[in-house]
């Protein structure tokens, strides 16, 4: 491998330990969500790491300080060696998390994973998840498998995190979502707005909630929080505030390559799971040691420190707080990953964010009305 041996480490930049290891075991998945965050060309990716290769990665990361290990995908349940991987990593002292859609989960496998030492199961409900829509529409039947699996997870003594991705068409039902999660005895509930699709798609799909919707959802969540606290209820609600109604971006993952290490099915190492879209060459665990990858590779050092920043970040006194925001968002929206995250009011591209906010308000009129207006407008023009 070209970069083995050479070091791109930046002098004077203190690098944290890769505390969080995300193992994307496979891109295979029984579902085909139109909004999948997996790469479109996943069929062209290299072959999946073998059981032994994964275990070697776990060992190396553990020695470097990793304590949390997440198994995800695709759908990680597709990997037949999952129990073996859980056992190996649990024996190394990892806290093991399974992140699944619940499709393909059975009582038998839940028991098998418990035996292997799995610590926690997170069931994710994607925004485009038909089952969520069924649930919100009141059809519990189509939703039954997920509910059944959530109950089985609790019955086997696991703590459970339920993760709901919300958007403008379901966020108003947040009260019912929380109610259901509590009924299922979730220990943690993560409520996140679907931001990762990227702005353009978000708008095209008409998914961006309005500011009023968001504020309402946040208010309802904190009312629930107070209620639960008053009861001494252990369930914790985590409302992930999206940043598109902010004037400053979020600090991404505590900085580039500083906490989080993602390994894709073919062994490519990434500092964040959406980083694969960036025009940056990332190393592979088949070619270099994890230590070299983390501390010395080009990809992991690309946005460390501050020397890569152009203006306005370069001379900004807030750069140590937010690191200029999200590199992927900057790339997606401005075409240059070095730019300030356009969420920032100081960014010359902030207009994109303002336009999207405005569109969210406009779209609330409904597509038909908008089209009607255009049609009428064009007729008036034609008359003149």
């Amino acid at each position: 491998m070209a970069n083995t041996g050479s070091s791109f480490a930046k002098p004077g930049v203190v690098v944290g330990q890769p505390f969080w290891l995300l193992a994307e075991l496979t891109y295979r998945c029984p579902l085909q969500c139109p909004y999948c965050s997996n790469p479109v060309d996943f069929a062209k990716q290299g072959t999946e790491l073998t059981t032994d290769e994964w275990i070697d990665v776990f060992r190396q990361a553990r020695d470097m300080g990793a304590a949390q290990l997440g198994f995800s995908g695709g759908e990680p349940l597709v990997r037949q060696d999952l129990a073996q991987l859980i056992k190996a990593s649990r024996d190394m002292g990892y806290y093991t998390n399974l992140i699944t859609s619940g499709i393909g989960l059975t009582e038998k496998r839940i028991a098998e994973f418990a035996e292997a030492g799995l610590d926690h199961i997170q069931i994710s409900f994607q925004a485009a998840d038909e089952e969520v829509n069924n649930m919100l529409a009141g059809s519990r039947k189509a939703f039954a498998h997920k509910l059944e699996m959530a109950r089985a997870v609790k019955a086997h003594g696991y703590p459970m995190v339920l993760n709901f991705v919300t958007h403008r068409h379901n966020i108003d039902s947040i009260d019912r979502i929380i109610e259901l999660c509590i009924e299922l005895e979730a220990d943690f509930v993560e409520l996140a707005t679907c931001q990762f699709y990227g702005w353009a798609e978000l708008n095209r799909a008409g998914l961006l909630p309005t500011k009023a919707q968001l504020e309402r959802a946040e208010r309802i969540t904190s009312e629930w929080r107070e209620k639960l606290e008053a009861q001494g209820h252990p369930c914790k609600l985590i409302f992930v505030t999206p940043d598109y109604y902010e004037e400053r971006p979020k600090a991404c993952m505590n900085g580039w390559g500083n906490l989080f290490l993602d390994i894709t099915p073919d062994g490519t190492a990434l500092p964040c799971h959406s980083a694969r879209q960036l025009p940056v060459q990332f190393p592979n665990v088949r070619d270099a040691s994890l230590k070299h990858i983390w501390y010395e590779s080009f990809g992991f050092n690309r946005f460390r420190g501050y020397d890569w920043m152009p203006e306005p970040c370069r001379s900004c006194d807030e750069k140590e707080k937010d690191f200029g925001g999200c590199r992927c968002q900057a790339f997606m929206l401005t075409g240059n990953a070095e730019n300030a995250d356009p969420v920032c009011g100081k960014s010359e591209h902030h207009g994109i964010i303002l336009a999207a906010r405005e569109e969210a308000e406009m779209a609330a009129l409904g597509m038909d009305q908008l089209q009607y207006r255009n049609e009428k407008a064009s007729r008036i023009i034609a008359k003149v």
């Binding site: 330990q17 505390f19 969080w20 470097m64 300080g65 304590a67 949390q68 997440g70 002292g93 806290y95 998390n97 610590d119 926690h120 997170q122 003594g157 696991y158 703590p159 995190v161 220990d187 943690f188 001494g232 252990p234 914790k236």
Partner: protein, 91 residues
């Protein structure tokens, strides 16, 4: 939350207490997170085995660390806080 001496603390399901060499500290791991513990918190949590009640934990710590007059109160207070945070539960 008031703690009675005859109650037995246990870790909440999904909360794991262990030593992390990379942190050179005891930590509490839970779904997707970790709390790094200071020395006294670690000493108290080491005693949490699902068998010993609060009184027994205090006795064990008093034997181990004699000459700390506030030890009993400190332990009770810590257990109260840990219960409030739902790290441990009382049986």
């Amino acid at each position: 939350m008031t703690v009675a001496l005859h109650q037995t603390p246990v870790f909440r399901r999904g909360y794991r207490f262990q030593f992390e060499p990379a942190q050179d500290a005891h930590v509490l791991l839970y779904p997707e997170g970790m709390i790094k513990l200071n020395g006294s918190a670690a000493e108290i949590l080491k005693q949490v085995d699902g068998q010993r009640d609060v009184a027994a934990i205090i006795a064990a710590l008093e034997a181990q660390f004699p000459g700390f007059p506030t030890l009993k109160d400190d332990v009770v207070e810590f257990i109260e806080v840990a219960c409030g945070k739902h790290w441990i539960e009382l049986r």
